[in-house]
């Protein structure tokens, strides 16, 4: 089937009353779930699955993908307003989204976030459709040593993140990596640092650590300072949703770059959208004319991760459908849903079943549009929440956060761990050890360790120098690290002058 014919015929399949209704229900449900910390897209889809029996393939896909895409934006909202990443993917939004809220620009941040996610979703879907023939060779050229270098590149951007002392940034990264090594060794299964606790054998569950580090520590901070989240601005909110939407269009080149990055990170299985958001943020910092604004409420720091997250889902669908290799955890659940609907992933999806693939591409586009419209409609109310009195805010947010930690796996011990990470996060923040660096170290450590072991096993001790793609990536890694260090050095010299 011709690509153009497939695109048109799948659009006609979609423009029916029942599909649009399912998509609308899915988006509303996804936004509700996304606003709950700890309950991400995986929980949203897993809970919907039993209710999809008996529906047709397209309405079911509309319901599931709609819910999945809306949860991502829901996670962005909590990151921006409360410094609580709804899921690992929304982590990068806390770096500048929450400072914008503190500066009295919550509406602008929400507007920019919704519009960037929408544009990212649409650009990602278009490029996804165009890049279907190119995907296979690229996917096959990326092996464990290349994944390792990509993860190391992720670590190198810490030079960009560390706003204060590089030493403290380095300590935070190492501690994050050390936290990730708790549990069984991925290759030999040796239990490490488990302190004879069965709970720790599984390792430290990432969402729980994140709820503690960012949300609970913020509540401790609020209690100690006795001020609301928006402490610097007195009076009314100064920004508008429209200014945020305009920002997304104003930074159109950043949106396109971030969307393409999100798409390709989605295509590569195993990297995950959390790394995508961080990578998008890093490239926004590295390419900005005013990198010193980042971390203090730069709107580009909201636009880049949201555009990437919007585009990432389309990219994640490709390996899931074409090879049956899920691009991430939520794609794994979607894969189960596909199989239960009788959709068998394989290379034929990109040839004979192309109309189904395009139907999914269209669903992603419409889901992004619905999410943006509903999101922008509810944003004026949402943006007032951080101005609430801390004495009302603390018990409610604390209840939701601890509960969020509890329900991620249903373990009471997760709540205790979130509390411990909360204390640790509070003191890290107080003494200027970057919590973001800790989390990046934690996210990338598992990927680095697994791919290092596989590369050593497959290619020997000098594996990097035997793989041409690895050498190219390594050179790029050194160049970008050197550039960002040079920029940081120049900035500190300017500050001293």
């Amino acid at each position: 089937m011709d690509i153009f014919d497939a695109a048109i015929s799948s659009l006609t399949l979609l423009l029916t009353y029942d599909v649009m209704l399912m998509l609308f229900i899915g988006v509303i449900y996804g936004l509700c779930v996304g606003l709950m910390p700890g309950l991400g897209g995986i929980v949203a889809i897993a809970l919907l699955l039993p209710f999809t029996m008996g529906f047709g393939v397209i309405p079911t896909l509309a319901l599931l993908l709609g819910a999945h895409i809306a949860t991502i934006w829901g996670g962005s909202v909590t990151s921006i307003l409360f410094n609580v990443p709804g899921a690992a993917k929304s982590l990068a939004l806390v770096f500048d989204g929450h400072p914008m809220t503190r500066n009295g620009e919550a509406s602008r941040a929400l507007g920019a976030s919704a519009m960037a996610a929408l544009l990212g979703g649409i650009i990602g879907a278009i490029f996804l459709a165009l890049s279907i023939p190119l995907v296979r060779p690229v996917m096959l050229s990326i092996g464990p040593s290349e994944y390792l270098i990509l993860a190391l590149w992720g670590l190198s951007i810490i030079a960009t993140f560390s706003d204060g002392s590089m030493l403290k940034g380095g300590v935070a990264t190492c501690l994050g990596m050390m936290a990730a090594f708790v549990g069984m060794d991925p290759i030999t299964g040796t239990p490490r640092f488990w302190m004879d606790s069965i709970y720790l054998l599984d390792g430290i569950y990432f969402p729980v650590a994140m709820i503690g580090l960012f949300a609970i520590s913020e509540m401790i901070k609020l209690y100690v300072k006795q001020t609301s989240f928006v402490e610097r601005v007195e009076g009314r909110e100064t920004s508008t949703l429209l200014s945020g939407c305009k920002d997304a269009f104003k930074h159109w080149w950043l949106v396109i770059r971030s969307s393409l990055l999100g798409l390709w990170i989605g295509v590569l299985p195993g990297i995950g959208a959390s790394v995508g958001g961080i990578a998008a943020y890093a490239q926004a910092v590295q390419t900005s004319k005013n990198p010193e604004k980042f971390g203090k409420g730069a709107v580009e720091g909201v636009i880049a991760p949201d555009a990437t997250l919007g585009a990432n889902e389309g990219g994640g669908l490709l390996p899931t459908l074409a090879f049956g290799i899920p691009g991430g955890e939520s794609m794994a659940i979607l894969l189960v849903a596909f199989l239960s609907m009788g959709i068998v992933p394989g290379p034929q999806m990109l040839t004979t079943d192309l109309d189904l693939v395009f139907a999914m591409v269209w669903i992603i586009v419409f889901a992004n549009i619905f999410t943006a419209i509903i999101g922008l409609a509810i944003s004026p109310k949402l943006s007032k929440l951080p101005r609430l009195n801390p004495n009302i805010m603390i018990p409610i947010v604390l209840s939701v956060c601890l509960f969020g930690a509890y329900v991620t796996r249903g373990y009471f011990a997760d709540m205790v761990l979130a509390f411990l990470f909360g204390i640790f996060g509070y003191y890290m923040d107080k003494y200027k050890f970057s919590r973001a660096n800790f989390v990046i170290g934690m996210v990338l450590a598992e990927m680095i360790e697994r791919n290092l072991h596989i590369s050593l096993g497959l290619y020997g001790d000098f594996f990097i120098f035997t793989q041409p793609v690895s050498i190219i990536l390594l050179v790029l890694l050194f160049i970008t690290t050197a550039l960002s260090l040079k920029r940081k050095n120049n900035r500190s010299k300017e500050v001293n002058v």
Binding site: R192, Y223, L402, A413, G422, K430, Y431
Partner: protein, 140 residues
């Protein structure tokens, strides 16, 4: 000059943590310690450097009393949840906290606390169909 202030105590804690981690890593096989060993050593070195080459932060020391109170408050909340479950526990915590701070009158405080409890009840018991667990002993 080394001063025993809050920041240095925190860095000392990190030094002990990294040192403990390093010693712990020595007991693993070559594969299991391939990364934890060098990373903990690197962390230890950076912590020691951070101790002596840090810029003075603006951290306030007079907040210690409030910090301990905040930590004890969350601990109290977790204990309530452990004994009476998440929905009733959250409701009781919210009403206790709001009445103590007296920002809202008793009816508003009750209404908010009840809403939180019902919301958590619905999600926990009806939507996710979980039961209060259970796995507390796993941690110890």
């Amino acid at each position: 000059m080394f001063k025993l202030n809050g920041e240095n105590v925190f860095i000392l804690f990190l030094i002990f943590l990294s040192a403990g981690y390093f010693i712990g890593s020595l007991s693993f096989g070559p594969n299991a310690r391939l990364l934890p060993l060098p990373i903990s050593l690197f962390s230890l070195a950076l912590c020691v450097l951070a101790m002596f080459f840090k810029e003075e932060s603006e951290a306030q020391t007079e907040t210690l009393y409030r910090e301990i109170k905040a930590i004890l408050l969350i601990l109290f909340f977790i204990l309530i949840i452990a004994f009476i479950g998440p929905s009733i526990g959250s409701g009781i915590f919210c009403i206790f906290y709001m009445l103590r701070k007296q920002n809202l009158n008793i009816y508003r405080s009750l209404a908010i606390s009840l809403s939180v409890a019902l919301f958590i009840y619905y999600i926990f018991y009806q939507f996710l169909q979980l039961t209060p667990d259970s796995n507390f002993q796993l941690l110890f």
